[in-house]
Amino acid sequence: MAHVYFCLSVFVLGGFLGLPWLPNSDGRVTREMLEAVGVSDVSELFGDIPDEVRLKRPLRVGAGRPLSEAEVYRLLTDKADRVSSCLEMLCFAAGLAPHYVPAVVLEIVGRSEFYTSYTPYQAEVSQGMLQALFEYQSLMADLLEMDVVNASMYDGSTALAEAFLMAARVTRRRKILVPEFANPCYLKVAETIVKAQGLELVTVENGADSGLLDIGDLKRKLDDDAAAVYVEVPYFYGPIEEQVDEISSLCHSHGALLVAGVDPLSLGLIRPPGDYGADIAVGEGQPLGLGLNYGGPLLGFFGVRGERRLVRQLPGRLIGMTTSMRGERGFAMILQTREQHIRRERATSNICTNQALCALAAAVYLSLLGSSGLRELSRTIAVRARYAASQINRIEGFRAPAVGRYFFKSFAVRSELLSAEEVRRKLLAKDILVGPVVTRLPKLGESFMVAVTEIHSRADIDRLVEALEEVVGDV
């Protein structure tokens, strides 16, 4: 802890009676309250804690004493100085990609009536958050063309896990078919969560050249034991699946649910999951106005078609529109008999606290965009990514995209002369971040991921291309 002390200024507060967040800690107020309770010291209120479990020394945390706001601010400045952001380097990392966070979004989520509120249990006094979440659900429903979208999940990975669990409940089956090119991190998380209930993930291959799902392999593995078929559009490694209608009808002919994972910002260009018959649509909402925040908070979105058998098994909170006894329009949490606080061990999920403030951010973001803004943004991202890939592809020693022909913002780059890890490291030395490096997928050889978004200018992309030229030039 020495280095925490080290950062402190020399000013010492006069005792902690001055702790500004404890309004009754002033001696006189405390005394009045103790008198009313009928005890002489506050420790008497802890008299029922057995001696054997009592902590008999002070907690050793923080700086050893309370710090003033000014001291904390200085300390945080020091920490921030030892963090570089994507704005100080050039960041083309995928998985999450850096998108611009509009000032309007920060302004609205920074309103303390929103951020200091709890889950809106008392609807009449929480109409603001409830209407905003209803609008989030509605905007996402139209974006995805799914009828019912819940009020959020933790992130894309847990949304996917919940989709698999829901498919198992709806179909009473346990086999889940997942594409080889799906987000590897999501599959890992899903496996951790679903295997406790005996679900089994079975991998379906993607074509080594086309990057598309191998329909023959799908047909071999798809039978009447399958609860769900998962498809990603686009896949984590880049390719945009174009056989969605065929996959959808194959899946449904065996009574399985189609689960689609999508990038929300691609939906200004690419057909939405509802349009090709997805029963459940999930994904990561971070592109919709959330910061990267070193990977969290994120926003899992979860939408289903409007059929009762699906809605009844929906996990998570849902906001609905109704009227008040006085005939006014109003909003409230609905269908709560699915949820843990009522249904307990028979609930559709244990989720309680979700990512409401992130859903609010997404609602504000989508409101700003509108239909034409979304089209424009999707397009500008895809054009930039296409430009980047075609420039990289011209360099001897790199192939971009490594697989498939069409992609949205992320694509794999195949390195033919150096290991992908070496390329990544050499770019890092030039303050350029790419990645992650593709592992455990021999089909893609030595590859690394690149993501291009609206924040990258042509000059940024040209700098990446030059750096890659230098990297192979040194070989």
């Binding site: 952001s85 974006l143 260009l269 990267l292 990977g295």
Partner: protein
């Protein structure tokens, strides 16, 4: 009684504000495509181009006004008293919202090399160390995103622990007073739930003895419990469950009642989750994001999700070498923003300050109880005379019995006086429950006022019960039709759903 009237805007849906061609956004230009020369066919595979998009089109100023007005029809800790029991709605320090680390974080990518984020990793490292010290545990994972997510993580660890030892233990014991998430988390991890009854508000030891067996995987317990009572037999509970080969899981939702006085690790708990958005003052965000850090002791450390934050004497790094790790429970490292806010809170308070916060929270509870002694209409069931810790559960049963004014009616009436209602109908072992937790943040005068309002509601219930039933009348909307809201043939979960199924959007 102070008069209160919440803002009431006639605020249309963002869809109803739409006018084609308006926009609140301009995409950055890119010279390759400034004239729109790239054909969509080059960007999207054949048959995959989207045709129609039905999002509303609104200008920036309209978006800002719309959501600002909505915020004015919302209630936060910054608006006033918010004593939701078990939710620990304490004040959210503003330094946590406005500081250089947080603003930088917006553009920090999780794939960035550790060397570029040392300042941040240092914060996370010390946060983990401090939380381990506060709970008496050895190591913790920052990954879980909320309390329930932490619970799921914890019970998955318990499952893996027994499986790894070749034992088939499929029963999870949970007291009848426990948080609803405990039951759902245990079921989600594939356990059969065995409910343990309470005796005078505490875990019934005889029932517990009778319930444990070679199938017992563990017990999920919160201490102080949801009645605000410290489970004084905790060492005996620990002995019974451990002797049967089970583990102890600590639901940290109620930690604010004992910080600095007792630690779960010293009570025999093996795994703990904490709600940093409760005890450690990260804002709740209207329902999240939270942070549900999970900590473990001894052998159980080897089952934590990866990665763990670590320090090798020179640099901070992520450690993936956890022997029997259950894996990852979400993408990346956790909800970093609320984690940083918890760090700021602990740093600002120090060890003494945390203990003081607990003392002040417990004092607030018992002071409120003393104020309620002369108020008719409410009981405090179970363990008469025993001081409560972080919260107290009142029962409005006398009002319900004599005047048909229920806990829900009392809650709705409270809203009319410019305060938020307590948690109601929980725990289920209390009829007409009003579960109240002021935390250390509520000034004495606000607690006095709350007690006076409850007295006033009780008076109105006795004299004009029909008036109470009509409340709230001072909020943005009146009491809502929840039957219509929930019926499968009338519910409206989205504008699209209403369009598709021909449900009429109610007029403003």
């Amino acid at each position: 009684m102070a008069t209160f009237r919440q803002a009431k805007w006639r605020e249309l849906l963002i869809y109803e504000l739409s006018r084609e061609g308006r926009r609140g956004f301009a995409a950055p230009s890119f010279e390759e495509d400034d004239a729109g020369i790239v054909d969509v066919g080059e960007l999207v595979p054949p048959g995959m181009a989207r045709r129609r998009i039905e999002l509303p089109e609104v200008s920036e100023v309209e978006v800002v006004r719309h959501f600002t007005r909505l915020s004015q029809m919302n209630w936060g800790v910054d608006s006033g008293t918010y004593p939701l029991g078990s939710c620990t709605m304490k004040y959210n320090p503003k330094i946590s919202e406005h500081n250089p680390l947080l603003s930088k974080l917006l553009y920090v990518h999780p794939e960035q090399p550790e060397e570029t984020v040392q300042g941040l990793l240092e914060v996370l490292y010390w946060l983990e160390r401090w939380l381990a010290e506060i709970t008496g545990m050895d190591r913790g994972s920052l990954q879980p995103s909320a309390g329930a997510h932490g619970e799921l993580t914890g019970v998955l660890m318990i499952r893996a622990y027994h499986e790894n030892r070749g034992e088939k233990r499929d029963e999870m014991l949970i007291p009848d007073s426990a948080h609803g998430t405990n039951f759902a988390s245990a079921a989600m991890a594939g356990f059969k739930v065995i409910t343990i009854p309470s005796r005078d508000g505490y875990v019934d030891l005889e029932a517990l003895e009778a319930a444990v067996s070679e199938r017992t995987a563990g017990i999920m317990l919160t201490n102080p419990n949801t009645l605000g009572l410290f489970e004084k037999d905790i060492l005996e509970i620990s002995r019974i469950v451990h002797d049967a080969g089970g583990l102890l899981y600590y639901d940290g939702a109620n930690l604010n009642g004992i910080m600095g006085y007792a630690r779960p690790g010293d009570m025999g708990f093996d795994i703990v989750h904490l709600n940093l958005h409760k005890t450690f003052a990260s804002p709740h965000g209207g329902g999240g994001p939270g942070a549900g850090v999970v900590l473990a002791k001894g052998e159980l450390v080897n089952y934590l999700p990866v990665p763990l934050i670590a320090y090798d004497g020179e640099k901070y790094y992520w450690d993936y070498s956890v022997k029997h790790s259950i894996g990852m429970v979400r993408a990346y490292y956790g909800n970093i923003v609320p984690l940083i806010k918890a760090y700021i809170y602990i740093l600002s308070m120090g060890g003494e300050g945390l203990k003081k916060a607990t003392e002040q929270a417990v004092l607030a509870t018992n002071y409120f109880i003393s104020r309620m002694k002369e108020v008719e209409g409410y009981d405090i069931p179970y363990a008469a005379g025993v001081p409560r810790k972080h919260e107290v559960v009142l029962s409005a049963k006398p009002l319900a019995r004599d005047y048909v004014v229920t806990a829900e009616d009392v809650a709705k009436a409270l809203l009319d006086y410019g305060v938020h209602a307590p948690t109601i109908y929980f725990p289920p072992i209390v009829e007409e429950a009003l579960m109240i937790e002021f935390t250390e943040s509520e000034p004495k005068e606000a607690i006095d006022y709350y007690a006076r309002v409850l007295a006033e509601i009780s008076r109105e219930a006795r004299e004009q019960p029909e008036n109470v039933k009509k409340r709230p009348v001072n909020t943005s909307v009146g009491r809502l039709d929840m039957v219509k809201a929930n019926r499968m043939d009338t519910y409206i979960p989205s504008v699209r759903f209403a369009r598709k199924y021909g449900r009429k959007i109610p007029p403003l």
